[in-house]
Structure formats: C-alpha cells, structure tokens
C-alpha cells in the first residue's frame, strides 16, 4: 500500500513537472545578466576564514586559494541573514552578498570582530559583476578547461579588461559571476554581448522562479531558517559552533521544521506575491515570488507552505478560490551532507 502511494506521488510530481516545463534547457543556456547589485566586501586579515566559520553554517575554514564556497550567515535564532559566497583570493578575500545586504553583512561581521585580525571594506560600487549562465564560459575567452574543481576561480585577461570568473553555485545550474573593476563595465558587457544573449530582470526572474532559486527579500530573510528554505546542503552539521547552530541542529534532530519553501503552480495571472494560501479554509502558506509563464494561463511561484500541506501534488487555494498545486520542495544546494 505504501509503495503504491509513493508511486502515485512520483507519477503526480512527474506529470506536474512536465506540464510546467517551459523554461530553457539549463545545459544549453548561453546568457548573461547585469548583477551589479550584488554586494562585494573586500576582507583582509589572517582570522578571516576562522571568524566566518564561527558565524555561518557551512565549513569555510579550508577554502584553498582561488577557490570559492557558499555559506549562510544566521542570527542567534537560526534565521537567515544572507547567503554569502566566500572567495579566497590568496592575499585577500572577497565576499559576495545578496543585493542590498552588503552593509548588513559587513555590520554583522564587524559586530563580532573583537580581537581578530580582520579589516573590512565595502567595495560594492567599485566592481562590475555580470552573472553568466553557460556550460563553460571559459571557452568564451579561449581558455582551455584544465581545472577539475567546480569551485576554482579563473583569471581572465583580454586586451581590453582583466577580470575573474567565479563559480556561483545555484542548484544544478552552470552559473558564474564575472567580477572586474567597474571601469571595465562597458567593455565586459560589450564582449559578453557578442557571445551571449542578454537577459533583463523580468527574463531572469521568470527563470529564477522556474529553477527554484530563492532570493533575499522574497524567500530569504530573518523570518526564515535555512532548513525551511531548503538550504540544508549548505549546512555542515559536523563543523562545530556558529551563531544559530544550536537552534538549527535542534530543528533538524527533532524534525521540528514547520514549513517548506515549495515551487507552486497557480491557475491565475494575477499579482500574487504575499498572497495567503488556504487548505479547507485554514491558512496553509504564503506566496513569496510568482510570475506568469510565457504563453500560458498560469503562473509559477515559490511559497512557504506548512509541512502538513507541502507534499508534492497537494492542492491549495487562494482567498479568491484560484487553485494552487505544490510541484516540488527544492533543495538549492542538495541533500544534507
């Protein structure tokens, strides 16, 4: 009986996923977008990795030079301050934050810097950042792919600009950031524009939702913890203490996570963000992002849904009676390590 139910669930999930698949194949993507709004902190000092390791969920202590990793800063309640990407540039570190979170992250780190040898500088305005979705962007610069590590930073030198190509882990996407001095902004965009298609914000937003990428302000905030947000793959449960660790470990150990970030299909085109979802008249969740799918009469969205209603294939409704279906409970960085 249990096996039959599982098979039924799998079939429903497959059917729903096929119905909603209108996004481009992620393996053939060849696009870029302006990601200048991401924050960049420049950090120096021998205690940098040690402090970030004691303040965030993932193990960052052993990042090799010219490699990057992602981790989550959480507060003492185990709630999300930001997902950050830490890049070891050998003589200094770069820290990529979500848009608008650069100063928040800097202030948070600075608050806990007591006797550590660390100097921070917010250099968000001094860098140009492009986000590239491409299987292997090194080929755009005639660089042979010698590195096998998925976190290796590559230096790009052209006659017109110098920059760094940095793996930017977003689920199973081939995603990179190209970071350079802001004085190269136009020449980099021109170069990328000759090789890749440009995506504006609405185009990327539709792609982001379809590929279940949470962003700060919508899905990620101090109202949610990383387990609810499907970020368990960025938590190292063996690394030791960090701010919020006890709460997160307890939620995981005692299975106390009350809601899940889900991908949903909504049978309407209305503006849906912050709209509540109901099951038999009871509040079951809230929509955090939504956008109409091109050439369809439905929207895809992301929503925090109570665990009792977040099984794939569950039907919910909006206050006005539009049907909402749970398609998936994604894990951006994969399963628990």
């Amino acid at each position: 009986m249990k096996i039959l139910m599982l098979l039924k669930h799998a079939a429903v999930a497959h059917h729903l996923a096929s119905n909603s698949k209108t996004s481009p194949d992620i393996n053939t993507l060849s696009v870029f977008r302006d990601a200048k709004n991401l924050g960049i902190l420049h950090i120096t000092g021998k205690d940098t990795l040690d402090l970030i390791n004691r303040m965030s969920t993932n193990n960052v202590i052993d990042i090799d030079p010219f490699h990057t990793t992602h981790t989550i800063l959480t507060n003492d309640k185990g709630r999300i301050i930001d997902i950050i990407y830490v890049i070891n540039m050998e003589s200094y570190y770069l820290l990529i934050t979500s848009p608008g979170q650069d100063q928040v992250v800097l202030n948070w780190l600075d608050k806990y810097t007591i006797m550590e040898d660390i100097e921070y500088s917010n250099q968000t305005s001094q860098f140009s950042i492009s986000h590239i979705l491409h299987t292997n962007p090194k080929t755009l610069f005639n660089i042979s792919d010698t590195g096998t590590s998925s976190s290796l930073v590559t230096e790009i030198n052209t006659p017109n600009f110098t920059s760094y190509l940095i793996p930017y882990h977003l689920g199973d996407l081939n995603s990179y950031l190209m970071i350079a001095s802001s004085k190269y902004d136009q020449s980099i965009k021109k170069y990328l524009g000759n090789h890749l298609s440009f995506w504006d914000t609405p185009q990327y937003e539709q792609f982001r939702i379809a590929h279940k990428i949470p962003i700060h302000g919508n899905e990620l905030s101090e109202e949610h913890n990383p387990l609810e947000a499907g970020l368990i793959g960025a938590i190292d449960f063996h690394k030791g203490c960090y701010i919020g660790q006890e709460v997160i470990a307890r939620l995981d150990s005692y299975d106390k996570v009350q809601k899940h970030l889900s991908l949903i299909k909504i049978n309407t085109q209305k503006h849906l963000v912050d709209l509540e979802l109901f099951s038999d008249g009871k509040l079951a969740g809230i929509i955090t992002s939504a956008q109409q799918k091109n050439n369809t009469d439905f929207s895809l969205g992301m929503a925090y849904i109570h665990k009792n209603h977040s099984k794939i294939g569950t039907y919910l409704s909006t206050k006005d009676g539009e049907q909402v279906t749970v398609l998936e409970n994604p894990l951006l960085f994969g399963e628990e390590k």
Binding site: D50, L51, N53, R54, M55, D76, L109, K111, Y112, T113, I114, M115, E116, G240, C241, Y242, I243, G244, Q245, E246
Partner: protein, 118 residues
C-alpha cells in the same frame, strides 16, 4: 580603566584547581619558566562570543595582567569588558571535563560551554 567593586579591582579570577591544570598543561607543553594564561573573547560560536584560552609566557602591552595561584593571567584588552568578573574553574565531573567559565556578563550560554552572549 580598571573596574572596581568595594574599592577592589574586579578582573578575571582563576580557581586553584584551574591553576593546577594550567600548570600541568604548560609543563606538558615544555614550558619551564613562568606559567602564563592568556584569556580572550573571539566573535562567533553558538551564542555569538567564544572564550579563547592560550598558554603563553608572553603578554601584550595592552593586556591586563594579574598573578593568581602561581599563574600569570593575561586578559586581552578588547575582551576585558566581556570578561570582567569571570571566574575560570576546571571541572572533572561526570557532566563534563574541562575549563568552565562563570561569567556574570553572560546573558546566555550554549551547551558546549565555550560560547556565550551578552
């Protein structure tokens, strides 16, 4: 500026038991001169701040230094405000073995015993 209570300097104290253990570890470390313990607070850890203990003979100019039970206790200047009034003890009971901190400034502490918040 030293913090005082009833005209007496309040600083970090160590119990006799903790002092004996510090001397034991210092000896194991090969320290044959004056035994010193540097006490400091680092950012991070479960509750936001983490105790840091180092057996060392060298103090920094800015350290607050006091001799107790034959151990030179050095308190990092920046950490002083978080540690003032703290007593360092050593526990070898069934409920946990190691150095323990009784810190009147700590509003919360975590299960691991090395992290606290103010």
């Amino acid at each position: 500026m030293p913090v005082t209570k009833d005209g007496e300097d309040i600083t970090v104290k160590i119990t006799e038991k903790a002092a004996e253990k510090i001397k034991y570890f210092a000896e194991k470390d090969g320290t044959d001169s004056e035994v010193g313990l540097r006490v400091a607070v680092k950012g991070g850890g479960c509750s936001g701040l983490t105790y840091d203990l180092q057996i060392t003979t060298e103090s920094m100019e800015s350290d607050k230094v006091v001799m107790q039970h034959g151990v030179k206790v050095m308190v990092d200047k920046k950490s002083y405000i978080y540690l003032v009034g703290t007593t360092l003890d050593f526990s070898d009971g069934l409920n946990g073995k190691g150095f323990t901190f009784e810190n009147p400034n700590a509003a919360k502490a975590c299960g691991c015993g090395t992290s606290f918040g103010v």
